[in-house]
């Protein structure tokens, strides 16, 4: 996991503004998230769209054919539970690995 990854983050937003910010971060996150609803139920999936104006987020759940829409008003928090697939995939990391492999074979 990269230092800057949100993987494992479990924020506790205190108001609607903070929640909207967490939704934005979940939208930017490349792994699955767990949306914890106010009624206690949880929905796990990839949050691929959101609109502050409409107060809605869209989620692709692993087994579902199409997206589900969740209202901001129904969300208590979002946990960043899925593996972050963008973490540790940098070009620099690949070059480092390549260098290390080369050094190993030359030894």
């Amino acid at each position: 996991m990269g230092d800057d990854s949100l993987q494992g983050w479990a924020p506790e937003p205190r108001d609607a503004d903070e929640l909207a910010h967490v939704v934005d971060m979940a939208f930017d996150y490349r792994g699955d998230v767990t949306i914890v609803l106010r009624d206690g139920t949880e929905r796990v999936g990839y949050l691929f769209n959101r609109s502050r104006e409409r107060g809605q987020a869209q989620l692709l759940e692993p087994a579902a054919a199409g997206p589900v829409t969740v209202r901001y008003a129904d969300i208590r928090t979002i946990r960043f539970t899925g593996k972050d697939p963008a973490s540790g995939k940098s070009y620099a990391a690949w070059l480092e690995r390549k260098k290390a492999d080369k050094a190993q074979t030359e030894r």
Binding site: Q58, L60, P85, G88, Y91
Partner: protein, 340 residues
């Protein structure tokens, strides 16, 4: 320049029709992503990092065709992911070609030879295989993070040309690239016999894991001037000469983010192929509700400040060519003399 006359004519008449209809915002190239899966994992690629269940999904051919129709652009580019992993790529291309749409199938070419042998694709003036080539030999392999890909792509290009396909190359130039090596690369691509090359500077995707290897605007102008100032007469580019002049700093363009709209599993992507700031469910919604004024250099948006990529600026170059006498003259002169 190497864009075939029939394609140029289609684009020119399309642009003029838009003008006559008084349409100021119109699409030129639909970027159609039927899937995000890829058989490579190039560093800096912001397109493929999704959970497995998202990578397993794909659009249906019908969804793709409906998007092409809704958008109405004369050209459809199929990037990815890797479109040759799309099980219905043959049918999709066939259907688009039947609609007289010019198709650029953007592939890393790993599967190309096999697909050609299986007869999945048929040559057509409407279909161009646009092979991802980021450098010669090891340089390309390094950019795509796998050894041997350059040689595979070269074999596939030979085979596609032998079978009568239009073949172009698309190259992203990253920071630190040696302009002399790029010139040698251009010679080598022409030696392969491709119809033309496409070039674009890299972009630092906000979601890409690797930020440090992309070109910044000023450095990019200097780089492209060194590459293109004295082009070899044999070089052919499958892109607007005014876009190349823009890369060299000889044209001052603003981005046209709606010029290359992107459709994928999530819908119509706002505002452009690179940035993922949300999705609209219809093309009309994309055009009417995206706050376009927030994008492009003049907007002051940080994400746009250094961007010079083809999907934002090539449509501007094409619009300029067919909407101003000066633009038309510059493009015609560059086309006829080969000088940029």
């Amino acid at each position: 320049m190497s864009v075939p006359l029939s394609q140029m004519w289609t684009v020119a008449t399309y642009v003029l029709r838009q003008r006559l209809r008084g349409r100021t915002r119109y699409p030129l190239v639909l970027m159609l992503e039927p899937l995000f899966r890829c058989n490579l994992a190039c560093a800096g690629c912001g397109k493929i990092q999704y959970p497995a269940h998202v990578l397993k999904r794909q659009l249906t051919v019908e969804q793709c065709l409906a998007a092409a129709e809704e958008c109405g652009a004369p050209i459809v580019s199929i990037p990815g992911g890797e479109p040759l992993l799309y099980p219905e790529i043959g049918r999709l291309v066939k259907e688009l070609v039947a609609r007289k749409t010019y198709v650029y199938l953007c592939t890393n070419a790993i599967l190309l030879e096999d697909k050609l042998a299986q007869g999945v694709l048929e040559p057509s003036k409407y279909l161009s295989l646009s092979v991802h080539m980021d450098g010669l030999g090891d340089e390309h392999d390094e950019a795509v993070c796998r050894e041997g890909v350059f040689d595979t792509a070269v074999h596939a290009i030979h085979e596609a040309l032998r079978r009568g396909f239009r073949v172009t190359t698309n190259t992203t130039l990253f920071d630190g690239v040696d302009p002399e090596r790029v010139r040698t690369f251009c010679d080598a691509m022409m030696d392969l016999g491709v119809e033309g090359m496409m070039m674009s500077p890299g972009y630092s995707y906000s979601k890409a894991p690797d930020q440090e290897h992309f070109l910044r605007r000023q450095r990019a102008h200097a780089l492209f001037r060194r590459i293109l100032e004295h082009p070899n007469r044999r070089w052919k580019f499958n892109q607007s000469p005014l876009f190349l002049q823009f890369l060299m700093g000889k044209q001052d363009f603003e981005c046209t983010p709606w010029g290359n709209p992107t459709y994928n599993l999530f819908g119509w992507q706002r505002p452009c192929y690179l940035l993922q700031e949300g999705y609209a469910s219809t093309f009309q919604e994309l055009m009417e509700t995206t706050p376009w004024e927030r994008y492009g250099r003049a907007s002051g948006n940080d994400k746009c400040r250094d961007c010079m990529v083809h999907c934002g600026y090539e449509p501007t170059a094409v619009h300029h060519t067919f909407n101003s006498w000066r633009g038309f003259r510059s493009a015609a002169t560059a086309t006829l003399t080969g000088k940029l």
